[in-house]
């Protein structure tokens, strides 16, 4: 899968590394700003209280 991605990418090795770094940074940004907060909203937020 990742090997296939490496072969699909154009250009010399340094350009592929740069492209992959940019892609990875993009994935991280999407995770941090959208995916993780969305996942977090399913986690119970009220287990710090006493209740019957």
């Amino acid at each position: 899968m990742y090997a296939a991605l490496w072969h699909i990418l154009p250009g010399p090795i340094w350009l592929r590394v740069v492209t992959l770094t940019v892609l990875l940074a993009g994935v991280l940004v999407v995770c941090l700003t959208l995916v993780f907060p969305w996942l977090n909203s399913f986690i119970n937020a009220t287990e710090v209280t006493v209740k019957k």
Partner: protein, 285 residues
């Protein structure tokens, strides 16, 4: 033509075949990295980000309170103190300050201004109505208190106030809850509270100083800790208690950690913030 032919020739040789097992393995490795990234974000990075945002929200609320209070009102620059002073606290029961706390209310009411000015109105659900400053949690520690602990809105924005419990400075129990880990973790350092630590509550009506007395660990169903007299449901209150609850142990919901503080003094917003938190409250920190 020859160029593209060469290229496909060159690419064909080293290209590995996509096997189902290989793809599955790579997906699992990716899922593992994703999980670790999420945990790192939830347990560490997001607490820093949210903690900072919650602090900024609290400082904005403080500015709002101070701006609203800035026109000088007659008799508003008052300070009310209770005896015995917190420095004279022994390690006895919570009720030690009862006679002093009671007399403050009476003196305040008869004198007129302090008693009535000391009251904070009950807030609507999820509405932020106060800030709490706890120097033991950090020199720049301030968080909002919003009404409610059930919807999660208040607990995501800072500290929640148990509906139905008393408001700051009232005789009875001003009961709060907040996260110890995740969601900004406002009560992360709760176990570090020491006897005599000051807890400053700021509302539109003024500053309420509480003094930490004791810690308790209870079952999640032990609702009596938020009773007007903690752990003595049905008993008529004489003291002004601040109760804080959070989860225990950290990252678990098995138990609750409970911290009790007793009311020490009140002063109006125009009298200025208590010295230890003045710079922070006025945005000069």
């Amino acid at each position: 033509m020859s160029n593209s032919g060469l290229r496909s020739e060159r690419n064909r040789a080293p290209r590995p075949r996509l096997s189902a097992l290989g793809v599955l393995g790579e997906l699992l490795v990716t899922a593992g990295l994703f999980t670790f990234a999420f945990l790192g974000w939830q347990l560490w990075l997001n607490d820093i980000i949210l903690g900072s945002a919650q602090r900024d929200q609290a400082l904005m609320l403080s500015e709002k309170f101070l701006n609203a209070a800035s026109p000088e009102k007659p008799g508003s620059a008052t300070k009310v103190s209770v005896s015995p002073s917190p420095s004279s606290f022994d390690s006895g029961a919570l009720g030690a300050g009862s006679s002093g706390a009671g007399s403050v209310g009476d003196a305040g009411m008869t004198a007129g201004h302090p008693g009535s000015a000391m009251t904070t109105a009950v807030a609507g659900s999820d509405q932020k109505f106060a800030n709490v400053y706890i120097p033991r949690f950090g020199d720049d520690y301030v968080r909002t208190i919003a009404e409610g602990v059930d919807t999660g809105v208040a607990l995501r924005s800072g500290i929640g106030h148990y509906p139905g419990t008393q408001m700051p400075g009232e005789i009875g129990n001003f009961a709060l809850a907040a996260h110890r880990t995740t969601f900004g973790a406002p009560f992360n350092r709760m176990a570090s509270l020491q006897l005599g630590d000051r807890i400053y509550v700021q509302t539109a009506s003024g500053w309420y100083t509480y003094v930490f007395r004791s810690m308790e660990y209870v079952q999640p169903r032990d609702v009596a800790v938020t009773a007007p007299v903690p752990q003595r449901a049905g008993l008529a209150a004489q003291d002004r208690i601040l109760t804080m609850t959070s989860c225990n142990p950290q990252l678990s919901a098995a138990e609750r950690i409970v911290a009790y503080s007793v009311f020490d003094s009140w002063q109006s917003l125009t009298a200025g913030a208590p010295a230890p938190v003045r710079a922070l409250a006025e945005g000069r920190n």
